[in-house]
Amino acid sequence: MSPEPRHQALLSVRGLGVFRPGPGGEVAALRDIDLDLQPQECLGIVGESGCGKTQLLHALMGLQSGNVRLAGSVRFRGEELLGASAQRLALVRGRRLALVFQDALSALNPYLRIATQMTEGARAQLGLSRRAAWQRAATLLESLQIDAPARRLRQYPHELSGGMRQRVLIAMALMCEPDVLLLDEPTTALDVTVQAQVLAVLRELRARSGVAMIFVTHDLGVLAAIADRVAVMYAGRIVEQAAAAHLYATPRHPYTAGLLHSMPRLDTPLDTRLSTIPGQPPRSGATSTGCAFAPRCPLAHERCTQLPVLRCADNQFPANGTVACHYDGPAQGLREIWP
């Protein structure tokens, strides 16, 4: 049923599910997630708040909190990470997979200097000396356009601005030169100029070191600037996945079309109100009964009470991507369904 992992994939996720005990039985935060990340690739993940993007990144690193049951498989270079021993995971974390957390203020330890927090990983993982690790931290901060890095390193998180903290978090994730960088809304908390700077730095980093990335955001506009491929999430599932250029040009899922439609564009007249998709995403997590998007979908029809499975978006060009939707009319028509 699930596609076979392409053997060169760096990171390969199959049927990943995250389940929490709820009052009326288990609630699934994520269900049936299939992803492949190729070396040097940047995969964008987009979706509304609460659709499970953060849960997904945490589950990839085995960092899920609380009483959680995981299902499926997460392989890094063929090695299974789900259910791996603490020792194995410790070797992978930071060094193979590094995560840039969403909320920089709470992700940093308020009691420790930036230098301590940035260097401890590299010292433990790579056996760097205090001095060498400090030097590397300073260089990374500088490359992220933080001035006076030596002074910043001696400061505490509360002494830094929000934008600086976010960049410290990015630099911290780069300390061990990871193979995969997981970024959880790394630019959302930043103002537009800093956002552009950070994106430029990340692009430059890719060009220089070839690090693979999973870039999570709720902003398709940001992804256009960096992602090779985009996966769209809705209510704990991936509903569409395609090469970035393809997805922006011809979305195959009504939800993707809606997200694109609500994106501000340069040629949008200033006085038009930006449209949003009417309605709210479901609060109950990922279900298995029908299409979760049906209550908001203009194309919903009787078949939508059955779960749409991911299928090739375009039978003639299977590489163009996958989509989970029962609509099989012409893709061009999807743009017009949103007012």
Partner: protein, 308 residues
Amino acid sequence: MARFLLRRLLSALPTLLVIATLAFALLHLTPGGPFDSDRTLVAQIQRAIEARYHLDEPVWRQYLRYLNDLAHGDLGPSFTYRDTSVNQIIAQGLPIDLAIGGCAIGFALLVGGAIGLGAASRPGSLRDRLPMTLAMIGISVPSFVIAPLLILIFAMRLHWLPSGDWVGGSWRHLLLPSLALALPYTAFIARIVRASALDVMGNAHIRTARAKGLGDTAVLLRHALRPTLMPLVSYLGPALASVLTGSIVIEQVFGLPGVGRFFIGGALNRDYTLVMGLTLLYGALIIVGNFVVDLCYAWLDPRVRLNR
């Protein structure tokens, strides 16, 4: 830092003045005087005694005289213990109180902290539920119930430790009183540390530490320990104060010659200077305790600045 210390020291003075004034006023408002007793003294002798302690002067003059002595570090002569000054009583009794109070707090911190951390490491397990149930009982049972129980078990049944009969005094006489004083605090601290540790382990920055591939020990010691201790620090201020009052009771039960029993005796006998002196002493100790707590805060948390 030096300026902060000086400022705190100076700001303690008005507090102590208020305490002295209130104590003075309350004592003088209480009916009866130090030398009224069932035996009626010959009026002449009574007057002579009152003159010796300046009790025949107007109250405001007594007040000023008292403040003047205070400024010179003299708490005055005791009325009931002839030829003994309040300073001497404190010098003799206070070391005993500090010893059992210090032992009790130290014990409570070490044992309570360890139990709390152990419980938090396996929430819901026997290691968690058994000590926490005991702790709940420990909090609810007051010292004056625990103390006789300890005497019954360790002194009268097992004959391991002396229960009282303080003569000359050895450290063994201080063990049971310290333990009796410590148990409720141990229980409370165990619960605080458990709750705090569980809370901290769910913090986002602990997840960040894990994401770096740090081992459990590094995560616990470097990232979890300090925030876990913060609620304990805030609890310690009030705890220090209540250890002092708690030791008054414990001293009675174990017959220890600390300052606590003088406090009670002084109050019953209207020994003005003794009661005022000890009230000031307790006040000063509480101020010092809070000061130490503030210093601990600033030392533990870089976000706290010492410039208020």
